[in-house]
C-alpha cells in the first residue's frame, strides 16, 4: 500500500444512536490501520428505503446532497450501514445514468449552493478494508488472532443485492456465494462457518408492521448459525444487528427455541484481532454479551 487511504465517513443514523459501538469500533480500527476518516457531519439520514416509498424526489435530493459533501472534500464516501450504502449508491446510479433526473436534482441543490458532479464513489467500510486496504496487508497486522472461534458471517441484503448497483463497490461479490466476510474472518484467525442463511434477509424493514415476518427471518438466521456451531455471528450492517441482537429474546419466543447468540459488528472482530481492548470496541453495548471477550 503506497498511498494512505482516506475517506469521507457517512455514519448514518444508527451508528450514532442505537449502535454507538459500531461507530466507536470503526474509528478505533481505522486509527489502528492508519485509514483516515473525515466525518461528514453535514449529512442527513438516507431515508432507509422508507422515505423512498413516500417521496422519491426528496429522497434523491437528500442523498445527492450527502454525496455533494463528500465531493467537496474530494474524497470517496465510506458507509457503515448496508441500507445507507444501498440508498447512496442507488441514488448515484440513478442520477449518473439519467441526465434529465440529475438536472432536476441539481436544480434544487443549486438553491442551497450545492451541485452534484459525480466524482466521489461510495463503498461500505467492509469493502474499504477487504478491497482497498487489502486482506494481505491486514494479515500482517493481526496480533491476537481469533483462534478456535467458529464465526458465522451474516452479510445483509443491501451490500450484496442488487449486484448491478453494488457490484463495482463490493469487488463484484456474487450475491449467491458472497465470500468477503468469510475471508475477513479467516484473516482475523477465526473459522468461518457455512450456513444457509448467511446471505439472506433479517426482515428489519417490516419490523414495525409485520414483526412476525421479521422475527422468523432473523430467527432462521440465528438458528442456522447456532446449529452450524457458531460461537458468534458477525455482520457489517447495524440494522441487521438491531434485529439479531436487541430482539433476540423475542425472536426466540417466536421460534420456540431459546437462542443465545452474540452478534458482533464487522469492525469489532477486526479490532479484537488487531489487539484493541474490548471496551474500546464497545462490546459492552450489546444486549447478548460476547462473554468470551469480557
Amino acid at each position: 500500500m503506497a498511498k494512505k487511504l482516506k475517506y469521507a465517513l457517512y455514519t448514518g443514523c444508527t451508528a450514532r444512536e442505537s449502535t454507538p459501538e459500531l461507530l466507536q469500533s470503526t474509528l478505533a480500527v481505522a486509527e489502528k490501520l492508519g485509514i483516515e476518516l473525515e466525518m461528514l457531519d453535514e449529512a442527513s439520514c438516507c431515508g432507509a428505503s422508507h422515505l423512498q416509498d413516500f417521496d422519491d424526489h426528496l429522497s434523491l435530493v437528500l442523498n445527492t446532497r450527502n454525496l455533494c459533501y463528500a465531493e467537496k472534500k474530494d474524497l470517496p464516501m465510506v458507509t457503515l450501514c448496508n441500507t445507507c450504502q444501498l440508498n447512496s449508491s442507488m441514488t448515484k446510479h440513478r442520477i449518473d445514468e439519467n441526465k434529465e433526473l440529475r438536472e432536476r436534482v441539481n436544480n434544487d441543490l443549486r438553491q442551497v449552493g450545492l451541485e452534484y458532479k459525480g466524482v466521489s464513489d461510495v463503498k461500505h467500510f467492509l469493502y474499504a478494508i477487504v478491497e482497498d486496504f487489502g486482506l494481505d496487508n491486514l494479515k500482517n497486522k493481526i496480533i491476537k488472532p481469533l483462534k478456535n472461534f467458529n464465526i458465522a458471517p451474516f452479510y445483509g441484503c443491501h451490500n450484496i443485492r442488487p449486484s448491478e448497483i453494488q457490484g463495482h463497490n463490493n469487488g463484484h461479490e456474487n450475491p449467491y456465494v458472497p465470500n468477503s466476510l468469510d475471508r475477513l474472518i479467516e484473516v482475523c484467525g477465526g473459522k468461518s462457518v457455512d450456513y444457509d442463511e448467511k446471505n439472506k434477509c433479517c426482515g428489519f424493514h417490516v419490523d414495525l408492521q409485520s414483526p412476525e415476518t421479521a422475527n422468523k427471518l432473523s430467527g432462521n438466521a440465528l438458528l442456522g448459525a447456532t446449529d452450524a456451531n457458531a460461537d458468534f455471528m458477525v455482520t457489517p450492517c447495524p440494522l441487521c444487528h438491531l434485529n439479531l441482537d436487541v430482539k433476540q429474546h423475542k425472536i426466540g419466543e417466536t421460534m420456540g427455541r431459546e437462542i443465545n447468540m452474540p452478534v458482533l459488528h464487522m469492525p469489532q472482530i477486526v479490532g479484537l484481532a488487531l489487539g484493541i481492548p474490548a471496551e474500546k470496541l464497545g462490546l459492552n453495548h450489546h444486549v447478548v454479551k460476547a462473554v468470551y471477550f469480557e
Binding site: 443514523c13 444508527t14 450514532r16 444512536e17 442505537s18 454507538p20 457531519d41 453535514e42 449529512a43 442527513s44 439520514c45 431515508g47 432507509a48 428505503s49 422508507h50 422515505l51 416509498d53 413516500f54 417521496d55 422519491d56 424526489h57 426528496l58 435530493v61 437528500l62 446532497r65 434544487d108 441543490l109 442551497v112 441484503c157 443491501h158 443485492r161 442488487p162 449486484s163 450475491p175 449467491y176 456465494v177 444457509d196 439472506k200 434477509c201 426482515g203 424493514h205 417490516v206 414495525l208 408492521q209 409485520s210 414483526p211 412476525e212 415476518t213 421479521a214 422468523k216 427471518l217 432462521n220 436487541v246 430482539k247 429474546h249 423475542k250 459492552n284 453495548h285 450489546h286 444486549v287
Partner: protein
C-alpha cells in the same frame, strides 16, 4: 468449430426425485455428465431424461426464454433452465450441482411443482387491462413511447415464478402476494389506458398481504431472468398510494412519512421518536422490553444529546423545496 474444440467439464448432478403418487419422501439421484461451454441448464435436463432416466420430469416449452415454464433451482438459485448457461453456474457453484424444483414442498413430480399459490395471487390483482374500449375504433389507439416507458419494463414478465419462489417474505408469510403479482399490478397501474388503478391499489395496500409486507431484500430483482425488477415496481406502488391519496393511516405508512419529519427536524433520524410517531401511544407497550434493554446498554441517546446534522437550516430548506408528496 469442431466438437473437440468446445470446452467441456465433468459435473456431478444431484437431481431431486419425487413422485407424489408413489413416494412418501423425495430423494436425490446422481448423474455424472460432461457439460460443454454451449450447454444451458435445459440441455442437461434433457440429457438426463433422454440418456439416463426416461421418467425424469420437468416443464419446458418454448426453449426461448418466453413461455416461463422451465424455471428451477440450481444450488438454491432460481434460474430459467433454457437461458442459464451451465458454465456460468459452474463458475459460481463449482462442479457439484443440485437440481431442485422451485419449491420442494410443492413438488408433484421431480422438478414439476404445483404453482397454484402463484397463480391465485397473480389473478387477485386483476392482471389485465380494464378500460372502456371502443369496439369498432376508426383508427388505431396509439400510445407514445414516453407513455409506454412509464411501464418500466414491468410488461416483460413471463410469469416464471423465479422471483416468487425466492421471496423470503412469501416463505414466512404465505398471505403475502409476492413480487410477481405486485409487479403485474404495477404493469397495469402504470398504463395510461387502464381505469382500475384505485381498485388495484386497494388490493395491494392490504396490510398482511400487500406492499407493506415486502422486506426489501432485492432477491426478486436479483433473480429475475427478464430484468423486471419487481422490488422497484413495489416501490412504485408505494408511491402511487401516496400520490393518489389512498394510503391508509397505519404504522407502516406513518413510518415512511415519519422519516421526512425526523429529517426536517434533526437531519438525522430520531429513532425512538420515529417508533413513537409510527406506532402511536397504544402501540408502544410492545416495544418496552426492548427499549429497557436498549437503555440499559446505552443504545438510546437522551433527548438532549440527540445528534443533529450540521447545516440543518440547509436541510430544512431542501425539504421545503424538494418535497413532492403529501400525507
Amino acid at each position: 468449430m469442431s466438437q473437440d474444440q468446445i470446452a467441456s467439464k465433468k459435473v456431478l448432478f444431484k437431481a431431486f426425485r419425487f413422485n407424489a403418487d408413489k413416494d412418501i419422501l423425495p430423494y436425490y439421484e446422481e448423474y455424472k455428465l460432461i457439460v460443454t461451454q454451449e450447454d444451458v441448464v435445459l440441455d442437461v435436463l434433457n440429457k438426463i431424461k433422454w440418456e439416463h432416466s426416461g421418467s425424469f420430469s420437468y416443464r419446458r416449452s418454448c426453449r426461448h426464454g418466453i413461455c416461463g415454464s422451465c424455471a428451477i433451482k440450481v444450488n438454491g438459485k432460481a434460474v430459467l433452465a433454457c437461458k442459464e448457461r451451465m458454465f456460468d453456474l459452474i463458475e459460481t457453484f463449482g462442479t457439484e450441482l443440485i437440481l431442485d424444483p422451485l419449491n420442494k414442498s410443492r413438488a408433484i413430480k421431480d422438478l414439476i411443482i404445483d404453482k397454484k399459490d402463484f397463480w391465485d395471487k397473480y389473478s387477485s390483482v386483476q392482471p389485465f387491462l380494464i378500460a372502456n374500449v371502443d369496439k369498432n375504433p376508426a383508427k388505431e389507439n396509439i400510445i407514445s413511447q414516453k407513455v409506454a416507458d412509464k411501464l418500466l419494463e414491468a410488461d416483460y414478465c413471463i410469469q416464471c415464478g423465479a422471483c416468487y419462489y425466492s421471496c423470503p417474505a412469501v416463505e414466512v408469510n404465505p398471505e403475502y402476494l409476492g413480487p410477481a403479482a405486485l409487479a403485474k399490478a404495477y404493469r397495469f397501474n402504470g398504463d395510461v389506458r387502464d381505469e382500475a388503478k384505485l381498485d388495484r391499489l386497494d388490493t395491494v395496500n392490504e396490510m398482511g398481504s400487500g406492499i407493506w409486507n415486502c422486506v426489501k431484500c432485492f432477491e426478486c430483482t436479483q433473480v429475475c431472468p427478464k430484468e423486471v425488477n419487481p422490488m422497484d415496481k413495489i416501490t412504485q406502488l408505494h408511491l402511487q398510494t401516496f400520490a393518489e391519496g389512498v394510503a391508509d393511516n397505519n404504522v407502516a405508512t406513518r413510518h415512511a412519512v415519519g422519516f421526512k419529519h425526523s429529517i426536517e427536524k434533526h437531519g438525522l433520524l430520531d429513532e425512538s421518536g420515529l417508533v413513537f410517531y409510527s406506532e402511536g401511544i397504544f402501540g408502544m407497550p410492545q416495544h418496552i422490553p426492548e427499549a429497557i434493554n436498549m437503555l440499559k446498554n446505552g443504545k438510546i441517546p437522551m433527548p438532549w444529546s440527540l445528534p443533529k446534522s450540521k447545516n440543518l437550516a440547509e436541510i430544512k430548506k431542501l425539504v421545503k423545496i424538494s418535497s413532492t408528496a403529501k400525507f
